[in-house]
Amino acid sequence: MTDPVIELRQVARTYPGPPPVHALRPTDLTIQAGDFAAVVGPSGSGKSTLLNLLGLLDRPTGGSYILDGQPTERLSPAQLAGLRGRSVGFVFQSFHLLNHRTVLDNVALAGLYDHRPRSERLARAAEMIDLVGLTPRLGALPATLSGGERQRVAIARALASRPAVLLCDEPTGNLDSARSQEIVELFESMNQAGFTIVMVTHDEALAARARRRLDVLDGQVHEARAARP
């Protein structure tokens, strides 16, 4: 596990106000393949800003960023979209499932913008749904699922594109503590299998389960605990 999946060099993000907000101050950060990092900090400290930059959902106002071996500074929006779709899997606090589509259809959205044929996407989706234990709910609509099940669908979708890194912004924010425990256990077992995970949370108990911890305060990121074996 020596090749870095994520390399930030002096990456900063300032929202041009007025007044300008230094949401992320110049930051150096490396995430190795196989890492499981928790990003912890109070509300408004810049955790989502950092994660959006890591996921190419937003562009830094300074510094350089290499994702999955690819420098991103000079990429066009279309190239950024391509890299994002192939290299990053997202898990959001609010799940972001399409309410009118079945579980299978939702998961099969992964790879849609990677020119994957539908048959391949459906096959991968079924495989991922099986991994998160939702095969019995394959044809269900998201509205009929519990919160924990919905997040598992979202995780299956994030994995279905076979990304280099999983970025999770408060994945347990809408779940009770028992469901949250389940999700973190899922992450732990996935990480043990080799997945690289970056998880934003403000729940100390969950953060303790990660192998590495990054604290964010007022846009400053610092390594609170280096990766443990």
């Binding site: 890299l83 959205l109 913008y113």
Partner: protein, 439 residues
């Protein structure tokens, strides 16, 4: 509680060696279409409401144009326009008393009296005459007078046409009949009212008298009377009996040769739709004190769909249909714009999954185009149904231009494309991080 699959297999793809690279994302157009259709299909009621305006607009177009075609088809098959604008007036008094040759009920200026009536294009009287040879010897009296291109007094009668007939006419009758001139002019009010000794020849008469043009100042002789030929007909229009006629100004002809052998007729050409009114007015215009002496025959009754009033009404209805289409366009634009705001989360998700701006734009544009097309197709169906019901109710044969069935859905498609352009562009401009924050 434990996960069913807590023991994860180590994913194969983690072993890949080449990085993902920076190739722009691509989507299969078939998948893009499927996404758009799925988005519409999962909101059926809203989709239907959205396209109502487009449906109405397209239906109105098809119905109006189809019903007009259908009505026009009826008119051309059963009832031609010439017939619809012809009024014939008969000397009823003379008809009732065939034996009495002293009866003649038309005035001397039929055309001049009828033309001022609103709706009359042209009019004139026409009648056939029997011209008797002057009685040289008692036995010969009653013979028909010779008609020739040379005087008869020299006894060398030549080029006589036994089949030629003499008619009294007004120029207006020829114009009303749709006759055309090969050469010269036909009688005007000057010739009629000042008793000019002039003649117009039917095509057969001109041929048998050897008159090819009026430029040589030809003269024809009816008995001993000479007439300058001022016009030659090329075609007799609605009065084919004038083909072998030597036509003389009606008042002069009656003066010289007496009343017609058969009851006189007047022919009136009217504007489309005016015929029945003119038929009622004509007897009074011709003889205010004894209108009953003249009987006018109007064309058969038919509610004219193509007359001027209906044509402008048609224009108005088509205008309304266009307004409905514009409203339909605005409705689709509005719904799509609202949907863009409402579906910001979905847009953000698609971007997170690798959609580039143009993919988002194409998705929304495709949705609005499909909505418009759907509206056009549904509208055509409704319009066709309206045409069939409208036609069958009047026992007409429905007539529909097949192009209309293609044109209406195409119009819907254009409406949808126009409506979707701006919302789709707006959707493609949403920054992914912002879009994902909205739900």
């Amino acid at each position: 509680m434990k996960w069913p699959n807590l023991k994860w297999p180590r994913p194969q793809w983690l072993h890949r060696h080449q990085p993902a690279g920076a190739a722009p994302s691509r989507v299969r157009s078939r998948d893009q279409l499927r996404e758009a259709v799925a988005s519409i299909a999962c909101r059926p009621v809203r989709s239907l409401l959205t396209i109502t305006g487009t449906v109405l607009g397209c239906a109105a177009f098809v119905a109006i144009l189809g019903l007009t075609d259908t009505a026009r088809g009826q008119i051309t098959s059963r009832f031609n326009e010439l017939e619809a604008t012809t009024v014939t007036v008969v000397d009823a008094n003379a008809q009732a008393n065939q034996a009495d040759r002293t009866i003649y009920s038309f005035p001397d200026d039929v055309g001049a009296r009828l033309r001022p009536l609103n709706g009359v294009v042209d009019a004139g009287v026409y009648f056939s005459l029997y011209v008797a040879r002057p009685a040289l010897t008692p036995g010969q009296s009653g013979d028909r007078a010779t008609i020739a291109n040379r005087p008869q007094s020299d006894g060398l009668g030549s080029a006589t046409g036994a089949s030629l007939t003499v008619w009294g006419t007004e120029g207006g009758a020829l114009a009303a009949a749709g006759a055309s001139l090969a050469s010269g002019v036909w009688f005007d009010d000057f010739h009629l009212l000042t008793d000019q000794p002039v003649a117009v020849l039917g095509p057969a008469a001109a041929a048998s008298l050897g008159v090819a043009t009026v430029r040589t100042n030809p003269t024809v002789f009816v008995g001993d009377d000479s007439y300058t030929v001022i016009g030659l007909l090329a075609d007799c229009g609605a009065l084919p009996e004038l083909g072998n006629a030597v036509m003389l100004p009606a008042p002069l002809a009656r003066q010289r040769y007496g009343n017609p052998t058969n009851p006189a007729h007047a022919l009136i050409r009217t504007d489309l739709g005016a015929a029945r009114l003119i038929a009622r007015q004509a007897p009074y215009a011709l003889d205010q004190s004894h209108p009953e002496n003249l009987s006018a025959v109007p064309p058969p009754d038919w509610s004219m769909v193509t007359d001027d009033v209906n044509a402008s009404l048609n224009g108005l209805l088509l205008g309304l249909a266009a307004v409905a289409l514009i409203i339909g366009c605005v409705a689709i634009a509005n719904t799509t714009l609202v949907a863009v705001m409402e579906r910001a989360g979905e847009i953000g998700l698609r971007q997170a999954l690798g959609a580039k701006p143009v993919h988002i734009m194409v998705q929304f544009l495709t949705e609005s185009v499909i909505l418009g097309l759907l509206g056009g197709v549904l509208g055509s169906a409704v319009g066709v149904a309206a045409v069939i019901v409208g036609a069958v109710a009047r026992q007409w044969t429905p007539v529909l231009d097949p192009w209309l069935l293609l044109l209406a859905p195409a119009a819907g498609l254009v409406v949808g494309a126009l409506a979707g352009l701006y919302p789709a562009w707006r959707a493609s401009r949403l920054p992914p991080a912002t879009a994902l924050q909205r739900l």
